[in-house]
C-alpha cells in the first residue's frame, strides 16, 4: 500500500493513498464527479466519456480525474465555469443520440445519466443539438439479458467485463464515429456469438442498454 497523503477537494481536506486516481478518491469521500467509462478494476482508464473533468490548482486547464493520480497537497475543485462547459457539452453530445423514454426503461432511477443530470442540473433533453434517433433493432436473443443499442453511451465497460472478468471475447466496438456500436463478430446475434450468458457485462452497464430480462417490464 502506498503512503498516505492529504489533498483538498472542494475545500474539504481528504487523506488519500498516493498515486490513486483522483476520481476514486473523490467518490469514496462522497464527492460526486460525473463519470461513465471508469471502472476501478481497469489498469488503464480509457478516459473516453469526457465527463469527469475537474480543476486542479497549478494546472493550466481542466483534467480528467479518472486519469489523474493524486499527489501531496493537491488542491482540487470539481466545479468551475470551464469544467461545467466541458461536461455540459459532452453530456449534450451523449444525450443527442440516446433513446430516452425513461419511464419505460428498466434502468429508470438507477441510471447514471439521470444521476449526472440531477447532480449537475443538466437537461436530459438538450435543446442545442438535433436529436439523432438511432433506431437499431434490439438484441433479445439470449435467455438472460437484452442489448438495446439505442440506449448505449459507448462507455466500453461491458467490453472490458467481457474480456477481463468473463474472459470470453464475445463483444467489441465496431465502426467509428456516429456508427460506432457494441458488436459481436460479424454483427451476429448474441446467441450466435461466443457469448456464454454470464451476465458480467450487464452488471457494469451504467445505463439501460444492457438489462437482465427479469428486470424488463418491471
Amino acid at each position: 500500500m502506498n503512503k498516505k497523503i492529504s489533498i483538498t477537494i472542494d475545500g474539504k481536506e481528504i487523506s488519500a493513498e498516493e498515486g490513486r486516481e483522483l476520481l476514486w478518491v473523490a467518490l469514496e469521500n462522497d464527492i460526486f464527479i460525473p463519470n461513465l467509462c471508469a471502472l476501478k478494476e481497469k489498469d488503464r482508464p480509457s478516459a473516453s466519456c469526457r465527463l469527469c473533468f475537474v480543476e486542479i490548482e497549478g494546472f493550466p486547464r481542466p483534467v480528467t480525474s479518472c486519469t489523474q493520480p493524486v499527489t501531496e497537497g493537491m488542491v482540487v475543485n470539481t466545479r468551475s465555469p470551464e469544467v461545467d462547459r466541458l461536461v455540459g457539452t459532452a453530456f449534450e453530445l451523449l444525450l443527442s443520440d440516446h433513446r430516452l423514454g425513461c419511464s419505460k426503461c428498466p434502468k429508470n432511477k438507477a441510471c447514471a445519466l439521470q444521476r449526472i443530470a440531477k447532480e449537475r442540473k443538466l437537461k436530459l433533453k438538450p435543446k442545442r443539438l438535433d436529436k439523432f434517433e438511432k433506431d437499431t433493432p434490439i438484441d433479445d436473443s439470449t435467455d438472460l439479458f437484452v442489448l438495446d443499442r439505442n440506449r448505449c453511451v459507448l462507455c466500453g465497460r461491458c467490453i472490458w467485463a467481457d474480456r477481463h472478468i468473463a474472459r470470453v471475447g464475445a463483444i467489441g466496438f465496431s465502426q467509428r464515429g456516429i456508427k460506432r456500436k457494441v458488436s459481436t463478430f460479424g454483427d451476429k446475434l448474441l446467441k450466435d456469438s461466443p457469448c456464454i450468458e454470464c451476465g458480467e457485462c450487464v452488471e457494469v452497464c451504467p445505463v439501460g442498454a444492457l438489462v437482465f430480462k427479469k428486470d424488463y417490464g418491471k
Binding site: 474480456r163 471475447g169 464475445a170 467489441g172 466496438f173 465502426q175 467509428r176 458488436s183 459481436t184 463478430f185
Partner: protein
C-alpha cells in the same frame, strides 16, 4: 456474404501464406489485413478468424479494426464498383439521395455487394469535380449531376449491356461451331 465454390480454399491458402510472413503480434495486425485485402480484394470473416487465432485475440477484436478503417472492405468488390461521392459539395446538393437510390435499387447498403456480386456500393469523400455535383463514379467512369432517375438509367444500361454481351455470345457460338465443323 456466402462464399463461392472453391473460395474457402483460396482464402485459407492465401491467409496462411500471409501469416507465415509475419511475426504473430498485434503490431502486425493492420499490415496483415492490408495484405489480405490486396490478395483477395476484401477481408472475409474466415480471414479475420484465422488472424485472430494466430494472435490469440477474440475474432471480434479483429472485426473492430476492420470496421474502423474505411480502407478495409468486408465484402468482395462487385464486377462493377459504384462509388457515390459524399464530399462537401455532393453532400450539400443531395448525394445522400443518390446513395439511397442505389441502395434501394440494388437492395444493399453502402459498403455491401449484391448477392450475385455484380455491383458493390461505396461512398467516397470528394472525387475532385464538385462543379458537376452530385457525382457518381462507376468503375472508371465519372458521372455528374446525377438524379434518382439517372440512377435507374445507369443500372439499366448495365443490364442492357450485359444482355447484349450475352446475346453476342449466343450469336457467335453457332458461327464458331459452324467453322469448327467445316
Amino acid at each position: 456474404m456466402e462464399l463461392l465454390e472453391g473460395e474457402k480454399e483460396v482464402i485459407i491458402s492465401q491467409v496462411s501464406e500471409i501469416l507465415g510472413k509475419h511475426k504473430h503480434n498485434c503490431e502486425n495486425l493492420v499490415p496483415m489485413l492490408q495484405e489480405v485485402q490486396n490478395q483477395l480484394g476484401y477481408v472475409p470473416e474466415l480471414a479475420m478468424e484465422m488472424i485472430a487465432d494466430s494472435l490469440e485475440v477474440p475474432a471480434v477484436a479483429v472485426y473492430s479494426i476492420v470496421t474502423f478503417y474505411n480502407q478495409l472492405r468486408l465484402n468482395p468488390p462487385g464486377d462493377h464498383q459504384i462509388r457515390v461521392c459524399m464530399g462537401t459539395a455532393c453532400h450539400m446538393i443531395g448525394g445522400q439521395i443518390i446513395l439511397n437510390s442505389f441502395e434501394r435499387r440494388l437492395q444493399i447498403e453502402e459498403g455491401e455487394t449484391t448477392e450475385d456480386r455484380k455491383f458493390s456500393l461505396e461512398r467516397v469523400a470528394c472525387v475532385g469535380c464538385c462543379a458537376i455535383a452530385p457525382v457518381v463514379v462507376i468503375d472508371d467512369l465519372v458521372d455528374g449531376k446525377v438524379t434518382p432517375t439517372r440512377v435507374d438509367g445507369i443500372l439499366l444500361s448495365f443490364e442492357n449491356s450485359n444482355n447484349n454481351e450475352g446475346k453476342k455470345e449466343q450469336e457467335q457460338k453457332p458461327v464458331e461451331r459452324g467453322e469448327g465443323q467445316e
